[in-house]
């Protein structure tokens, strides 16, 4: 990706002037373990943000703190300028779609959706119409009378969304709502939900451990690790310019090569000595670490053949495996000096290429990422 596009992406990523949801210096401890430490995050109005991270990184805890289902040990949570830190969950007007939907098994679809309106003492005359509208939004009108246990997973999820939206929440929280669905359905529901929330302009926070889901759905992604946010940016930013080795590893595929960085070479580049030869990286995108480092390259940045110019790295490696994905083909190279494989993605496999062949590979030094060894 070129610099102009990246700067445009950055402009999009910068929060719009309003800090609608403002989480400041929030800390949460469970016994001796600190799950969240001085965490800050701001979300703009009608933005869709994903909290992405491995299990145990604190993303669900953060969600529960925002919903008011837990109290933080420190820090402040505000929506639209109102401090909600001490406000109990039922007075926050924040909708939640739970992982297993948490629909009320003793109530019908209709009664589940009406629950919030009744709890908030909405006028009886108004309830029926709003329930019907909410069910229409998720295309579940035909199931209004059904029992929850008579619904499929996808239908239950729609009801859970309708139940959360009908009360017009100031914020919608989604806790891995797709994890119980099969792949095909999940992809459909992701797009559908994204459209729905965008049309309603509702501010949403979405917790997931599935990077594809986060990349597909989000305006911005907060990549979390061990109770901290490691990077907050657009899907493109997070993928193309990972802020840390963890982000690089967690989001998308990558080849990682250990090496030693020497003092910066000519033209603002840094040279890294690796088991497969010297690799150069652009100083512009890296802070220029020295000593033990890890080089990271995205598979689609590597191309087959000799390098077209001086701004590219080039190596020769033996092809170990060809993995066909249909729309793309992954090539795995296994240089003898390296433990990991080098992953390359091509749209189409060149003719005559077979495992065992020694091939030349090249990639731009501008797409070479360098991180200090943790």
């Amino acid at each position: 990706m070129n610099v102009v596009a990246r700067e445009a992406a950055h402009a999009r990523a910068t929060p719009r002037s309003d800090r609608y949801l403002d989480v400041a210096a929030v800390t949460k401890r469970f016994g001796a373990a600190t799950v969240l430490k001085d965490l800050d995050i701001s979300v703009a109005r009608s933005e869709f943000i994903s909290l992405l991270g491995p299990s145990g990184c604190g993303k669900t805890t953060l969600l529960r703190l925002i919903a008011g289902l837990m109290k933080p040990d420190g820090g402040r949570i505000a929506i639209g300028g109102n401090d909600l830190t001490q406000v109990p969950a039922h007075k926050r007007n924040i909708g939640v779609v739970f992982q297993n939907y948490a629909l009320f098994p003793h109530l019908s679809v209709e009664q589940n959706v009406a629950f919030g309106l009744e709890a908030q003492r909405t006028l009886k005359a108004e309830i029926g119409g709003r329930v019907q509208n909410a069910l229409a939004l998720v295309r579940m009108q035909a199931f209004a009378e059904r029992r929850i246990s008579a619904l499929s997973g996808g239908q239950q999820q729609r009801v859970a969304v309708a139940r959360a939206l009908v009360v017009k929440p100031s914020l919608l929280l989604l806790d891995e709502p797709f994890s119980a669905l099969d792949r095909k359905l999940r992809e459909t529901m992701q797009i559908e939900l994204r459209h729905l929330l965008r049309d309603l302009e509702i501010t949403s926070i979405f917790v997931t451990h599935d990077q594809d889901e986060a990349l597909v759905m989000s305006d911005r992604i907060a990549v979390m690790n061990e109770g901290r946010i490691e990077q907050l940016g657009t899907p493109d930013e997070v993928y193309s310019s990972p802020a840390s080795l963890h982000v690089l590893e967690f989001v998308g595929q990558s080849t990682r090569i250990g090496g030693t960085a020497s003092a910066s070479g000519q033209g603002g580049d840094v040279g890294i000595e690796t088991p497969i030869g010297q690799i150069r990286a652009s100083m512009r995108r890296n802070s220029g670490p020295t000593g033990k480092v890890v080089v990271g390259i995205r598979p689609e940045c590597i191309a087959l053949g000799e390098r077209p110019g001086a701004d590219f790295n080039e190596i020769t490696a033996e092809l170990a495996d060809i993995v066909f994905f249909g729309s793309k083909t992954a090539l795995h190279f296994k240089p003898p000096a390296m433990e990991d494989r080098i992953q390359v993605e091509v749209a189409r496999l060149p003719s005559g290429v077979a495992p065992g062949a020694a091939l030349k590979l090249h990639w731009p030094i501008a797409e070479t990422m360098v991180y200090p060894t943790p």
Partner: protein, 295 residues
């Protein structure tokens, strides 16, 4: 087409042996035989006894039990005993079961043991212990005196207070157990969901927790009521003849005055009363827990 269909229908029903003994049928046999010998036959004898006396067929027992104000008072006493014991156990047991189900796993084991330990102690031992505690010079009076609640020792033993105190003590575990077993299966996210929809603690309890734990409540009520309405030992030891119950009348009829007809009639009335109340409570509780499940 029709003829073919009819033909298949004729041959379709598989030949069934008169008594088909599959595995579940065999497994239920020992229990069935035991219940016939230990329960069904004695109940039949009892019912037969209630309709006859030394002179042959007679409704004298029923006429006495259902006509004499003295015996009607006794039936009322038993109902009151069962009702107050059940309500008391429910009021104390429901919150206890809730707390138990939400306690950390390790604490749960300990609390569980504390609640069910009393069940391992014989009712007679427990009741005598209570009687000693409630004597004029017992620890309860001593406590009330020293805390300044009373000026001189109160009469506690052989009062209705002692009776209900003892009864609830005996029956509380039987109320907690079924409620707890339903409560622990309640997904805590359901109450989270209710809160996120704007329902305060009271609404959440009335609209989510209570309806979903109703089956446990009904089981507890049925269990405690049907056993406490027939209690014999605890009322006998804690209040004695001052508060006659159906069980005591039965015992006296059989053991002292040898009027089997009277005893059997009282027994049948008690059986009918207990079964009726248990079934009605189940019937009335069912719609509450199943509301909205239809359709």
């Amino acid at each position: 087409m029709t003829t073919i269909g009819m033909e298949t229908q004729v041959t379709a029903p598989p030949r069934r042996r008169l008594l088909q003994l599959d595995a579940p049928a065999i497994m239920v046999l020992p229990g069935l035989v035991f219940m016939v010998v230990a329960f069904a036959i004695p109940v039949l004898i009892l019912v037969a006894d209630s309709f006859r006396d030394a002179s042959g067929l007679s409704l004298a027992g029923y006429r006495k039990v259902l006509g004499d104000p003295y015996y009607i008072g006794i039936i009322w006493n038993s109902l009151q005993l069962g009702l107050i014991t059940t309500i008391g156990s429910l009021l104390i047991g429901y919150p206890a079961a809730f707390a138990l189900s939400r306690a950390p796993a390790r604490l749960q084991v300990l609390l569980f043991a504390l609640i069910f330990l009393p069940l391992t102690v014989s009712i007679i031992v427990k009741t005598f212990g209570l009687a000693i505690m409630m004597r004029r010079d017992g620890i309860l009076n001593w406590l009330l005196l020293n805390l300044g609640f009373i000026e001189r020792p109160m009469r506690l033993v052989f009062t209705e207070f002692a009776l209900y105190f003892g009864m609830i003590n005996v029956f509380l575990p039987l109320m907690i157990l079924p409620i707890y077993s339903v409560m622990r299966q309640l997904d805590p996210r359901l109450t989270d969901a209710a809160a996120s929809l704007g329902a305060g603690p009271v609404t959440t309890f009335l609209r989510v927790t209570l309806p979903l734990t109703m089956p446990g409540v009904v089981a507890g009520i049925s269990l405690v009521f049907s056993i406490s309405v027939a209690a014999y030992v605890t009322p006998g030891l804690l209040i004695g003849d001052r508060f006659m119950t159906m069980s005591q009348v039965m015992a006296k009829a059989y053991l002292n005055i040898r009027d089997f007809n009277l005893g059997a009639s009282m027994a049948v009335v008690m059986l009918v009363v207990a079964v009726t109340i248990v079934f009605t409570s189940t019937y009335f509780a069912e719609p509450a827990s199943r509301r909205g499940r239809k359709g």
